[in-house]
Structure formats: C-alpha cells, structure tokens
C-alpha cells in the first residue's frame, strides 16, 4: 500500500504543476488586470500545495513553515493589488 500512496503523491504533484501552468497561461493572456491578479493568487495557492506535497513525500516537517509563509504573502499581495485597482493607492492617508 505504501507504493500506491507514493504514486498518489506523485499524481497530486503533477496536478498541482499542471494547475500552476494553466494559471501562468492565464497570467500572461489575461485581458484585464483583475484576471492577472486572480491568476497570481492561484499560482501562489498552487505553490503552497506543491510545498505541502513535497513535505508529505520527503516526510520532513520543514516545508510546513514555508507553506504557511507563502499563504500569508500571497494573501497580502493579492489584497494589496486589488486595493490598488479599487482606489488607486494601497495605504490611504
């Protein structure tokens, strides 16, 4: 059963990689700026998933902290970019 679990981890990693590729295509062809922000947020989420799966595969707890940091920075970046689209500035006086 352990081999099947290893194949499942491989499958999930390949899926996350393909999802990141799709989001990158949308990031380049996106017609409006909000499409690009959404695609960048999706790239961040898929990167976090890939790090978590790497942590499952290598069985080391070190990747968890990096995944948490990526989730945090992705949230801050997406919200500040959307806020810039909405108001024209990020931090209002």
């Amino acid at each position: 059963m352990n081999e099947v679990f290893g194949y499942a981890v491989w499958f999930a990693q390949i899926c996350a990689g393909l999802a990141m590729l799709n989001a990158t295509i949308r990031l380049f062809i996106g017609p409006a700026a909000q499409d690009r922000i959404l695609a960048l947020d999706s790239v961040y989420t898929n990167g976090m998933l890939m790090l978590l799966l790497l942590g499952v595969r290598s069985r080391s707890p070190a990747y968890f902290d990096i995944a948490l940091l990526i989730a945090l920075f992705g949230f801050v970046g997406s919200v500040s970019l959307a806020k810039f689209l909405l108001r024209g500035e990020v931090v209002e006086p």
Binding site: F5, A12, A19, L38, V56, F64
Partner: protein, 116 residues
C-alpha cells in the same frame, strides 16, 4: 520514498484524499483558463482553495501524525488561514472588477458604486 513504512490507516485515506485534491486542483485551474468572463473565472480557484487545500492538509496531517506517533494538528493553522483569507481576496477583487467595469462605461463614478 524513504524506508519507513506508513500504517494502513494512513495510506488508504491519504491516497483517496490526495487523488481528490489533485483532481479538484486541476478542474479549478482549467476553469480559470477556459471560462469566458472574469466573474465566471472567479469560481475556478475557489475550488482549489477549498477542496484542494483542505484534502491535501488532512493527508499531510495524517502522515505527520503517523510519523510522530502522536496527533499533530498544526496543519489546521494553514486551513484556518486559507479559509479566512480566500473570501477576503475574492470580495476585494470582485469590488475592484465591478468598479472597473462601471468606470469603463461612465466617466465619473466613485468606488462605492454610486455615480457622482
């Protein structure tokens, strides 16, 4: 894979959860790529944010608990954070998209939607 073997109560749910997470992530990103307008495209990555991240985190929690020999719950931090932050991102982005769509049609419009 490393040499140590995982018990059966980890590998069977872990395999199912990882396959479900991979398929959900792939479907969500195809939605982001293939749907027509922006407001439909918002629905794709929310599938990645809920099913993909949730199932992967439960599988990771199972594996790390089996390796440590005791329940390890700190993956719940990421679940909590993602489930709190994804709606905020979606709402802010939707407000920005609505404002930009309105501002393209009428020249003078304020960000809360009422045209001045």
């Amino acid at each position: 894979m490393t040499a140590e073997t995982l018990p059966l109560w980890v590998t069977i749910p872990g395999t199912v959860l990882l396959v479900v997470a991979g398929i959900a992530t792939l479907i969500g990103s195809f939605g982001l790529l293939r749907l027509r307008d922006f407001f439909s495209r918002m629905h794709g990555p929310s599938m990645t944010n809920t099913v993909g991240v949730g199932a992967t985190l439960v599988a990771s929690m199972l594996v790390s608990s089996a390796l440590a020999g005791q329940p390890i719950l700190h993956e719940l931090l990421i679940t909590l954070f993602v489930s709190m932050s994804a709606p905020i991102t979606a709402i802010t982005l939707l407000q920005a998209a609505l404002y930009r769509n309105k501002a393209r049609h009428s020249r003078d419009v304020t960000p809360d939607g009422s045209s001045a």
